[in-house]
Subunit: 419 residues, 2 copies
């Protein structure tokens, strides 16, 4: 499939992240107006809430867009998702007879503020990248224990904290936490010195599942509304001290930043790709019935305050060992109910080479091998660094983008208990 | 403080769990009517939603009770909580001039169905009982590694799954899951054979905290609206295979049952008690500014299908090493925002003796020493067993109860993927 041309001219450039093929879902505001649902097209946002209110867009069970989040559309299911996409293509395609009616609902992207695109019900983070698990396992437990015995059999995951999920652009304050270096006799409470990123994709659950009823991988895939870029900020020194025996807790609770746009599963269909070959066969209920990963090129940029950006990693979502559909199916095996708005982090996406690692922990090998950036080096994030994740699925003459997933790390509070 | 007498005569019995001193918050329905907020008093529920609607009860910022959950009251803060309690005492006290106006709003407890008392925002479970941590640690990692190095310094916790929290009386279906016994070459997918309870208390967060701003232990205590009984159902065989390195996931996601009544912090004030002496000093930000635990006697009953109940454990909430206020303060150290409706499980409450252990895993020492029950033995839960947690804070001539926290375990699905 090639570029689908739109009368919104800026959407037709091969490197535009928001062609008619994409139509990602976000929430925007203009000036002091209330946030509303929008869809990115070229250099514009289409005010779909306005279109629905104006009767140009009608959805079964609607209105679904009269709230500043996409959850109502997400929960309405695949029929509504397909109808919405078909109608937007009809309205925005080159030669559409609806251009005059629709054009007043376009707002320049440069003029809007973007907000959280959906209400996060619960957030689960996985650990499902082969290279990342091996790298981190080697650093935390040694190479002989790097990959836990269960790793090749189930997508290892843990529940994260939904209240910490923020949209791109939100500043992230360096956390305090309890840490203990191996050479310290007792722990201390201090600002994290090893604050890090995790380059991930997030799958957004649209259709809920029932309590007590596991779902198949194919059913899980059909429940996914779309994908976002996701940066699971991680305090490595807090994590090292707290994570045994019950997993990361405060190390991951400061913030998780997502891209402002949910790219729908429909937009990513042309980029489906299989997970890598299994090293050991999966049990039947976790096997892929078809390609469930996506070929999405990913990169991380780091910009010091007042400096220039260095791209510190380039990798691809196809590096994951488990797909989001497999993760979601595993998530329901115990009968756990999944809800509209649940967010599943893929796990850190590292490739096999040093320049394709998805965390500074891996890039600098625990701080022992600082990486070069424009004008300096980095082991971990320094105050006022801005980190940006970018993703692109590249088709024949078009690009599917997510918008930047960015966050600036601001200094820790001088005294967290000063009132 | 002694019994506060009410004109609701059944509330004045020394063993009644719902005297005027208590006034716990629940949600009930009568027949086919919609669920509404109620407060237990003696053998009755007081329809407080009706009282508010009728103008007999007025709350700042109200109406707050016109929804079938307590979250709006919980989020309104300590001023409203105190005003509500004071007004209810005024209305229900012996000799109250309001009796005639209030009496029509009493419904016999025996006639109502009880529902979830609040919407759970997020659920966090801790591992903060000294005896439980030592027992389980010994079984999973050997006595020399039983207590992790961090355990005496921070309340170890992990994020659980809010979608799995259900109210007392909800049947719990035995889960399937991936397991691997040490003598198996490869894992298998099967119904859990080691399904278990965890006897816990749950703290219900009323007041939210701000993102980026840790709270002190005293502030945390003031954020807590009340407490429930909590049974964190656990599949030990699934847990043993999955929990390294990132903690329990599907093993704890089948269900978590809570009591139908939230007992407010105010009702528990006379029962405050300090945590046990520290084995090593806590860092200042986690130290107790005053007694933050409660003297609440707890017990667990097990009833086989068609059989009689055996009380299999008796313990006390005061056995915890960390209080809910300490746990909540720790939860915010990284800047994690806490929300109205967040639920914090205390961790399993085991005492020092075998008959005071809060899980079958401990009682039967991993299944090696089955316990005796009326008409048989148990290592773990068998199909159609009903488990009931009960709690009581006993004052001078009165008792504060939570209502039963009960669940019957029904057989696993024959084939979880049959459609």
């Amino acid at each position: 499939m090639g570029l689908m041309r739109s009368w919104v001219e800026s959407a037709n450039a091969a490197d535009c992240p928001f062609p008619l093929n994409n139509l990602p879902c976000g929430v925007f505001s203009l000036g002091a107006e209330e946030p509303v649902c929008g869809v990115a097209i070229g250099a514009h946002v289409l005010d779909v809430a306005g279109l629905e209110h104006g009767g140009i867009l009608a959805l079964d069970g609607g209105p679904l867009l009269d709230v500043p989040f996409w959850n109502e559309v997400m929960g309405a299911g695949p029929g509504v998702w397909a109808a919405l996409r078909a109608r937007l293509i009809e309205l925005l395609a080159e030669g559409s007879p609806h251009r005059a009616a629709v054009e007043p609902f376009l707002v320049p992207l440069a003029e809007v503020t973007l907000h959280m695109p959906f209400l996060v019900s619960e957030y689960t983070d996985f650990y499902a990248g082969r290279h990342h698990a091996f790298n981190v396992g080697t650093m935390f437990r040694g190479p002989e224990n790097a990959l836990p015995p269960n790793w090749l059999h189930i997508p290892i995951g843990y529940n994260g904290r939904a209240s910490s999920v923020v949209v791109s652009g939100t500043e992230v304050r360096r956390p305090w936490g309890q840490v203990k270096a191996p050479d310290q006799a007792a722990p201390s409470f201090q600002p994290s010195r090893r604050f890090d990123i995790e380059l991930e994709m997030g799958a957004v659950v649209g259709l809920p599942s029932e309590s007590g009823q596991p779902v198949t991988v194919a059913e899980a895939d059909a429940m996914i509304f779309g994908y976002v870029l996701l940066n699971d900020w991680s305090a490595r020194d807090i994590q090292a001290w707290e994570y045994q025996p019950l997993g990361p807790f405060q190390a991951k609770a400061t913030a998780t930043t997502i891209s402002p746009w949910i790219v729908t599963r429909a937009a990513l269909e042309p980029f489906r790709t299989s997970t890598p070959p299994r090293e050991v066969p999966l049990l039947p209920h976790l096997q892929e019935p078809g390609p469930m990963l996506y070929d999405i090129a990913l990169e991380v940029g780091l910009t010091p305050e007042g400096g220039t950006e260095t791209v510190i990693a380039r990798t691809n979502y196809a590096e994951m060992y488990y797909s989001a559909a497999q993760q979601l199916a595993h998530h329901t095996t115990s009968g756990c109910a999944m809800n509209t708005g649940d967010l599943l982090g893929s796990g850190t996406i590292s490739g096999p080479t040093k320049d394709s690692r998805g965390s500074l922990l891996e890039m600098s090998w625990g701080g022992k091998e600082p990486i070069a950036i424009a004008g300096g080096t980095r082991s971990f994030i320094e105050d006022n660094d801005t980190l940006v994740l970018r993703g692109a699925a590249r088709g024949d003459g078009f690009t599917i983008g997510f918008g930047d997933c960015a966050g600036k790390v601001i200094p820790a509070l001088a005294d967290p208990y000063a009132r």
